[in-house]
């Protein structure tokens, strides 16, 4: 047989190229079929291809009256790390209407002991990586992502605006803000914003030793805000190192974070879809599997002036409501049958002294303590304060340079 001519070879190449492009197209088409397309209306139809059938079954089970309503809600998730990313994924899978994500961090390989992010996403900003994954999981969800630090002056006002105007319907407020951040400053910033706007929000946290966590529901004016009392910690019978943040010093477990994210989203769903009872505080001590719950009243002397304003507004609203009758139960004082030697307990320090040193302590449930105490605010001595000057920052700067 004669060896093929150049022309024949060229023909073979062409044929092979055509085959290859046809194969490539097939692969593309296959991708298209596994890619989930947006669905206009949630259906309860029980077929394998309906991503909402198991959720809509909640209605048949008599748990939720109107599950479709979840599409009307908008939620801001601040911090999409160990807790926030899982929280956002749960809400996405539940078919939430809109998610606003805030975070200024990048995905790092050191995050891989937690759920959600994958090694190939290292180097991407967390919000960008999260949006991509979540859109693929559920294209029905609307996203707004912001890659910035909310605690700086420049970003804070924008952050407030997005809470105020980031609802599902244009220019309405979001329905809830979820704090999934890892530091005190960011929690305080969220608290400040929400008190000012009267926005309900959930705080969540995992301790630095990774074995305890909590969620807290803050309704400005009604329940204790984050500034009303020193941060709360769940006592774990270990050296308690309070609510601290991630970073090289901190330990973290995917388990604890997922448990806290689960608690958080469960209560978000209960609040939005109005079923069951929403927990105002739910603690988690992983070492003993102990889950304290309680409800805390706001502190009338809260440092945050907007918290005090919201408390006043809340009390006015409550006063306007018709009151249900309350029957008071009186507790009888314990009187011992005999006390022959007239023994009584006397403290070395007076009650007032002890109270002043410890400061006002909130009413806490068993197993929960404050991270630190604050001394009672003393009558302000004017000598404690530096005299306010009329110097501008420029004058001060010059003064410093001349030193």
């Amino acid at each position: 047989m004669a060896s093929p001519t150049v022309a024949e070879l060229q023909q073979t190449i062409k044929k092979l190229q055509e085959e290859l492009s046809a194969e490539k197209q097939k692969v593309e088409e296959m991708k298209g079929t596994t890619k989930r397309t947006p669905i206009a209306q949630m259906s309860a139809e029980v077929v394998d291809s309906n991503p909402y059938s198991r959720l809509m079954a909640l209605k048949r089970m008599g748990i939720v009256d109107n599950y479709e309503k979840i599409r009307d809600f908008s939620i801001a998730v601040v911090g999409v790390g160990g807790v926030g990313s899982v929280t956002a994924e749960m809400l996405t899978r539940c078919g939430i209407g809109k998610l606003l994500l805030f975070d200024y961090d990048k995905v790092e390989l050191a995050n891989m002991n937690r759920l959600f992010y994958q090694p190939h996403q290292a180097g991407l900003s967390k919000v960008e990586a999260a949006e991509r994954t979540l859109r693929e999981i559920n294209p029905d969800v609307e996203f707004e992502v912001y890659n910035y630090n909310i605690t700086t002056m420049d970003n804070f006002n924008h952050f407030m605006d997005r809470i105020r105007l980031g609802g599902k319907v244009k220019d309405t407020p979001v329905d809830l803000v979820l704090s999934c951040v890892d530091n005190f400053e960011a929690r305080m910033a969220i608290n400040t914003a929400c008190n000012e706007l009267g926005q309900s929000w959930f705080e969540s946290g995992v301790s630095e030793n990774a074995v305890s966590g909590h969620i807290q529901f803050v309704v400005p004016g009604d329940t204790s805000c984050f500034a009303c009392a020193p941060p709360l910690v769940v006592a774990t019978h270990t050296d308690e190192k309070t609510l601290k943040r991630e970073g090289v010093c901190a330990a973290s477990l995917p388990t604890t974070m997922a448990v806290v994210a689960g608690f958080l989203v469960q209560n978000v769903l209960k609040y939005l879809l109005q079923f069951g009872q929403v927990s105002y505080y739910l603690g988690y001590n992983a070492l003993q599997d102990f889950f304290p719950t309680m409800r805390m009243k706001p502190n009338p002397q809260c440092d945050d002036s907007h918290c005090c304003r919201q408390q006043k507004l809340f009390q006015e609203r409550e006063a306007a409501k018709p009151k249900p009758e309350v029957t008071e139960e009186t507790e009888e004082a314990i009187v011992h049958d005999e006390n022959e030697w007239k023994i009584e307990l006397v403290s070395e320090t007076t009650e007032d002294e002890a109270r002043a040193a410890e400061g006002e302590k909130p009413q806490l449930t068993e197993g929960v303590t404050v991270a630190y105490t604050k001394p009672a605010s003393q009558v302000e001595e004017s000598s404690d304060f530096i005299n306010t000057t009329d110097l501008s920052i420029d004058d001060l700067m010059n003064q410093m340079k001349n030193l």
């Binding site: 605690t151 700086t152 002056m153 400053e185 910033a189 530096i386 110097l391 030193l403």
Partner: protein
């Protein structure tokens, strides 16, 4: 808020008078971002570092987060971006003194002790070395 900054030049002056000067800071026009240098003397050698921080919106309820960016990743006592760890030695102190504390306190009671503990350790581990162009304390 201005009165909280006012103690600051006084603190710098006190340091100077006591021959105990250890940082230089200036701010942007709004006073929201501060930057400069701080230095630490170890075995008669001066080690100098850039220092920066923002005044958070929640100030004075929360303290500024002081950062030494060039040491980022070199010690475990640091958060992303070179923010020094203030959690144990300074945050509770700040919280108990709101709203009396300001920048001078954050430098003196936050950064100061951190440098005193961390820098000798960093030098010993060879992570921080003395740069020739920096004056030694003996010469200056």
């Amino acid at each position: 808020m201005m009165n909280l900054f006012c103690v600051f030049p006084q603190y710098v002056q006190n340091n100077k008078e006591a021959d105990n000067d250890w940082f230089r800071l200036e701010s942007n026009k709004e006073g929201t971002r501060w930057f400069g240098k701080c230095w630490y003397i170890h075995e008669l050698l001066k080690y100098e570092f850039d220092v920066e921080f923002d005044i958070p919106v929640t100030y004075p309820t929360t303290s500024p987060e002081i950062a030494l960016p060039e040491l980022d990743g070199k010690t475990a006592k640091m958060y992303r971006g070179g923010k020094i760890c203030l959690t144990d030695h300074f945050k509770p102190l700040w919280a108990r003194n709101v709203p009396k504390f300001g920048i001078a306190h954050a430098m003196a009671l936050g950064l100061g002790p951190w440098l005193a503990v961390e820098i000798p350790d960093l030098i010993q581990r060879g992570v921080v070395t003395h740069k020739e162009n920096q004056d030694s304390a003996a010469a200056s």
